[in-house]
C-alpha cells in the first residue's frame, strides 16, 4: 500500500467515527430501521439531512491494495447549509468537488493532466464550462455548454469545445473541435428519451484533417414489471479513410415474481458494408430478500417526480433521477438550498421511501460476453452473489428490519485477446453491510489484464483489497 502510516491512522480513526455516527443517523431517521440498536444514540448529535449548521462528514472511502495499484482515500463534507466539499486522492491523482444548490465545481490533477469544470444552475438554464491542460505539452482544451430547460419535461443542450493543441499526439488523432446539440424528454416516471448529434473535427498525426458526425438516440421505459433500455447510433467519418459505423443496443429487465429479477441485454456495432465489429450480451437472474422494486416502480419514484416539480416551481433546476445516488443528490441539493424548509416534507418522504424500497439481493448469477472482432478480443465473465442477513435467517423469513448483511461474491473472467493468449481473472469478496450507509469488504483477486499488458507480459500476481465506504443518507 502506498499510503504512509499517518494517513492510514487517520483513515482508521475516521472509519470508527463514521460507524458510530451511521448508527445514530439511522436511528434518528427511521427508528424501526436501526442497524445498531444497542448504540447510546441519545448522546450523539442529531442528523441534519435537511438542515445543519455544522461541518459533517457525509462520505468516506478507503481502498487499500497489496498489488501494484495505488490505494485510494476520499471523503466528502457537508459545510453547514452552504455546500458539500469532497476530495479523493491516491499517490498520483487528486480530485476535489464542491457542490451547492446552484453550483457544481470539480478539479482533477494527475501526472499528465489538470482539469476543472464548473456548472451553474439558474432556474431555467444550466451553464457549464470546462478546461483541461496537458501538463507536459501545455495545451489547453476549453469547452462550454448551455442547457435550456424549456419545460418541466424537456430540455435542450448546446455544447462545444476546442483544443489549442493542433499537433496530434503519437498514434492518436487529435480532436480539434466538437459541437453537439441534444434534446432530453422525461415523461412522468416511466419514460426518458434522449437524442443528440455531434460533429467533431480531427487531425491525424500525419496532418490529415477529417470530420466525424454522430447521431444517437436512447430511451428508457418502465412498463409494468419490466424496464427496457434501447439505444441506437450512427457515425460517419470523412477524410481519406471514410467509414460508416452503426450500433444498437437493447436491454430488458423483468420481474416475473415479486422478489425475482431477470436481466438480458445485447449490443452490437457494425462497420457498414464491411462487417460486424463488436457484440456484447449479458444475462442474469437475481433473487431478492423481502421484495424487488424497480427504481421507477417503487414508492420513491413518484416522490422524486413530485419533489423535482416542486423545486421547479420554486426555481430549482434539477433533473429527475431515480438511482440511489441521484435521489441522494436531490435531497442534498435541496438541503443546502434556500428551499430546504419549503421542501422539508418532500425530502423526508423521499428518504423514507428510498429506505423502504431498498433492494436486498440474496442470490444472483450473471453472465456476460463481449467481443471486439476488429481487435480479436473476447471477454467472458461469470459471477455469483450470495447475501445473507445477520444474524443469518432463511430467505423466506422476511424481516423488514434487517439491515446488516453479509455478502459474498465470486467473479470469474476470461480475456482472450488475439494471438492465442488467455488471461483468467478471479475474485472472491466478502462484504459486511452494517447498514445501508456503511460497508466494508475484503477481496482477494487475481487481476484482469488488458490485451496490451498481456502482449507486453506485464502481468502480476494476485492480491488483497480492503475497502470501506460510508455514504450518509444513501
Amino acid at each position: 500500500m502506498k499510503f504512509g502510516p499517518p494517513l492510514r491512522l487517520v483513515l482508521i480513526l475516521a472509519m470508527l467515527g463514521v460507524a458510530h455516527r451511521a448508527g445514530a443517523q439511522d436511528y434518528d431517521d427511521l427508528r424501526d430501521d436501526s442497524p445498531l440498536p444497542d448504540f447510546a444514540v441519545g448522546l450523539l448529535p442529531p442528523i441534519c439531512a435537511l438542515g445543519c449548521s455544522a461541518v459533517q462528514l457525509v462520505d468516506l472511502e478507503f481502498l487499500g491494495r497489496t498489488s501494484n495499484t495505488p490505494s485510494i482515500g476520499g471523503f466528502r463534507l457537508r459545510l453547514g447549509n452552504r455546500a458539500f466539499f469532497g476530495a479523493r486522492v491516491d499517490s498520483s491523482r487528486k480530485a476535489f468537488t464542491l457542490m451547492s444548490a446552484r453550483l457544481d465545481a470539480q478539479y482533477f490533477e494527475d501526472e499528465t493532466r489538470r482539469a476543472g469544470s464548473v456548472e451553474y444552475r439558474a432556474s431555467r438554464v444550466r451553464l457549464q464550462a470546462h478546461a483541461s491542460q496537458q501538463v507536459r505539452e501545455g495545451a489547453w482544451r476549453l469547452g462550454g455548454r448551455i442547457i435550456a430547460r424549456l419545460s418541466r419535461n424537456v430540455e435542450i443542450s448546446l455544447g462545444g469545445m476546442s483544443d489549442t493543441e493542433t499537433q496530434a499526439p503519437i498514434g492518436l488523432p487529435q480532436l480539434l473541435y466538437a459541437a453537439d446539440v441534444g434534446v432530453a424528454w422525461q415523461h412522468l416516471t416511466w419514460l426518458d428519451v434522449l437524442a443528440s448529434t455531434t460533429l467533431r473535427s480531427w487531425r491525424s498525426p500525419n496532418g490529415d484533417e477529417f470530420n466525424d458526425h454522430r447521431v444517437q438516440v436512447a430511451s428508457l421505459a418502465y412498463v409494468g414489471r419490466a424496464s427496457v433500455t434501447a439505444q441506437a447510433w450512427w457515425e460517419q467519418t470523412g477524410g481519406r479513410f471514410p467509414a460508416d459505423v452503426a450500433g444498437a443496443g437493447l436491454g430488458v429487465a423483468y420481474a416475473p415474481l415479486s422478489n425475482l429479477r431477470v436481466d438480458a441485454a445485447g449490443q452490437f456495432t457494425t462497420r457498414l458494408g464491411i462487417k460486424s465489429t463488436s457484440q456484447a450480451v449479458s444475462a442474469g437472474v437475481t433473487f431478492f430478500g423481502r421484495r424487488y422494486r424497480f427504481a421507477r416502480g417503487g414508492n420513491a419514484a413518484p416522490r422524486v417526480y413530485e419533489m423535482v416539480d416542486a423545486g421547479w416551481d420554486l426555481g430549482l433546476n434539477e433533473r429527475r433521477s431515480y438511482t440511489l445516488a441521484g435521489m441522494r443528490r436531490l435531497r442534498e441539493v435541496v438541503g443546502v438550498s434556500r428551499y430546504q424548509s419549503a421542501l422539508r416534507d418532500e425530502s423526508a418522504a423521499l428518504y423514507a421511501d428510498t429506505v423502504a424500497d431498498r433492494d436486498l439481493p440474496q442470490l444472483g448469477v450473471h453472465l456476460t460476453e463481449t467481443r471486439a472482432d476488429v481487435l480479436g478480443t473476447r471477454f467472458r465473465s461469470f459471477s455469483v452473489l450470495v447475501g445473507v442477513p445477520w444474524p443469518i435467517a432463511p430467505p423466506w423469513s422476511t424481516n423488514e428490519q434487517a439491515v446488516r448483511f453479509l455478502d459474498f461474491e465470486f467473479e470469474y473472467g476470461e480475456t482472450s485477446p488475439a494471438g492465442g493468449l488467455l488471461s483468467i481473472d478471479r475474485s472472491i469478496a466478502g462484504t459486511v453491510r452494517l447498514n445501508r450507509e456503511l460497508r466494508a469488504w475484503l477481496k482477494w483477486q487475481q487481476p484482469r489484464f488488458s490485451p496490451l499488458e498481456l502482449a507486453l507480459g506485464q502481468v502480476y500476481g494476485e492480491g488483497f483489497e480492503i475497502g470501506l465506504r460510508y455514504a450518509f443518507g444513501i
Partner: protein
C-alpha cells in the same frame, strides 16, 4: 577477355539479377529470371520441434532445399521472419537464410518478429535501452553488404525490415498501440542507424477485420513512420475495400488461399487485381513451405534415410511459375542452383556473428 566481351558480361550481370532473362553472353548460362514476385519462406532449420540450441541448430540441407526452390521458381524477393526470442535458434537460422538469399540475388524482407506467444520481443522493443541492443544487432547482422554467391553473378539482394507481423492477430496489440509504441520508435531508431534501409509497417490480417485495422493504423499516423504500407490478402473481397490514395507504396506481404488445387486459380485471379491497384508494388505469395499439408504451401518436405526430399504439392501453380521462368529465359540456359551455391554451409553464422549475439544477449 577482350574489352568488348567484358562490357557485355558486366551489363548482363548488372541486369540479370533484377530483370532476368538477359543473356550474359551467347551460350553462357544465366541466372534464373526474377519474374515471380515475392515469396514467403519460413526459416526452417530443423524438421523436429526442438526449440533450443540442441545441435544441430540448423540442418543446412533444409536451407539449401528452400533456397533452391526460391531460385528456380524465379522469385525476386523473399519474406522471412527473423524471430527474436532473445536471439534464440530461430534467429540464428535467420542469419543463414538472409545471407544466402541475398548472395544469390534475391531481395529479403526480414520481419523483426517472433514466433509463438512469448513477450520477449514486445518487451524489448518498448524499452529504449533494450530496443537499441535489438536493433543494433539486427542491423549489424543483416544490413551490411554480402558477397555474391558466384563471381560475375550479381547484383546481390537488398535487405528491408518489416516491423512485426499482424500485431493484432498474433499479439493482441491494437492498431493505435502498434503505431505509437512499436512502429514509430523502431522506425526512428532504424533510420538513425541506417537511413538507406526501407522500413515496412506490419500488415494487418488479410480479411475484412484487417481492412478496418489498416484504416485505424493509418489514422494513427502510420505513414509517417514507414516507407511502405503492407497488407495481407486471404479474401479477394477485401481487395476493393483497401484504402486508396496512400502516401506510401503498398506491398501485399502475404497472399494465398487454402487448398493446393485452388492455388493457381487464386494466383491468376488475384494477382492482376492487386497489381491493378495504383500503389501496390509487390505481392508475396504465401508460402513456399509450411508444416500444414494442403493449405498454402507450394512444396512439401519429407525426411527420409537419404535426407530431406521435397515434392510438389501445389502442382498447378508450381508448373505455372516454372513455365514463367522458362519463358522469360527464352532459349538461354539457366545457371543451375548447384553451381550458384555449391555448399550452403558457407552461409552458416560465423564466429563473429556468434560473438555479436553473445554480447547482445548479455545486454538484454
Amino acid at each position: 577477355m577482350r574489352r568488348r566481351d567484358f562490357l557485355q558480361v558486366a551489363a548482363g550481370v548488372a541486369l540479370a539479377g533484377r530483370v532476368g532473362a538477359l543473356p550474359i553472353a551467347r551460350r553462357r548460362k544465366v541466372v534464373a529470371p526474377r519474374i515471380s514476385g515475392g515469396i514467403n519462406i519460413h526459416p526452417l532449420r530443423r524438421f523436429d520441434q526442438v526449440s533450443d540450441f540442441t545441435p544441430p541448430v540448423i540442418a543446412p540441407e533444409l536451407v539449401d532445399l528452400q533456397l533452391r526452390e526460391a531460385y528456380e521458381l524465379g522469385f525476386n524477393t523473399a519474406r522471412t521472419t527473423l524471430s527474436f526470442s532473445n536471439f534464440g535458434p530461430d534467429f540464428v537460422a535467420g542469419i543463414m537464410y538472409v545471407h544466402a538469399l541475398r548472395a544469390i540475388g534475391i531481395d529479403v524482407l526480414g520481419i523483426i518478429g517472433q514466433f509463438g506467444t512469448g513477450a520477449d520481443l514486445t518487451r524489448a522493443l518498448i524499452d529504449p535501452a533494450k530496443r537499441a541492443v535489438v536493433l543494433d544487432t539486427y542491423v549489424a547482422l543483416f544490413a551490411d553488404e554480402v558477397a555474391p554467391a558466384r563471381r560475375r553473378v550479381g547484383p546481390t539482394g537488398s535487405i528491408t525490415f518489416q516491423v512485426m507481423n499482424e500485431p493484432t492477430n498474433f499479439r493482441g496489440i491494437s492498431p493505435e498501440d502498434y503505431v505509437r509504441l512499436f512502429l514509430r520508435p523502431v522506425y526512428l531508431d532504424l533510420k538513425a542507424r541506417r537511413p538507406d534501409i526501407p522500413v515496412v509497417a506490419a500488415a494487418p490480417v488479410g480479411g475484412r477485420d484487417g481492412v478496418i485495422r489498416l484504416e485505424r493504423m493509418l489514422r494513427a499516423g502510420m505513414e509517417a513512420y514507414c516507407d511502405v504500407v503492407a497488407f495481407h490478402v486471404y479474401d479477394e473481397r477485401v481487395i476493393p475495400l483497401l484504402p486508396q490514395a496512400l502516401d506510401r507504396p503498398v506491398w501485399i506481404t502475404e497472399s494465398g488461399v487454402i487448398g493446393a488445387d485452388n492455388h493457381l486459380d487464386w494466383y491468376l485471379r488475384t494477382l492482376p487485381m492487386l497489381q491493378a491497384l495504383p500503389q501496390v508494388e509487390k505481392v508475396f505469395y504465401f508460402d513456399l513451405y509450411d508444416a500444414q499439408p494442403d493449405t498454402f504451401r507450394l512444396i512439401s518436405i519429407a525426411e527420409t534415410p537419404e535426407g530431406f526430399v521435397r515434392s510438389v504439392e501445389s502442382e498447378g501453380l508450381y508448373a505455372h511459375l516454372t513455365d514463367l521462368v522458362r519463358t522469360a529465359a527464352a532459349d538461354q540456359p539457366i545457371l543451375p542452383y548447384s553451381r550458384l551455391v555449391p555448399d550452403v554451409r558457407r552461409y552458416l553464422p560465423t564466429e563473429s556473428d556468434q560473438r555479436l549475439l553473445d554480447e547482445a544477449r548479455a545486454q538484454l
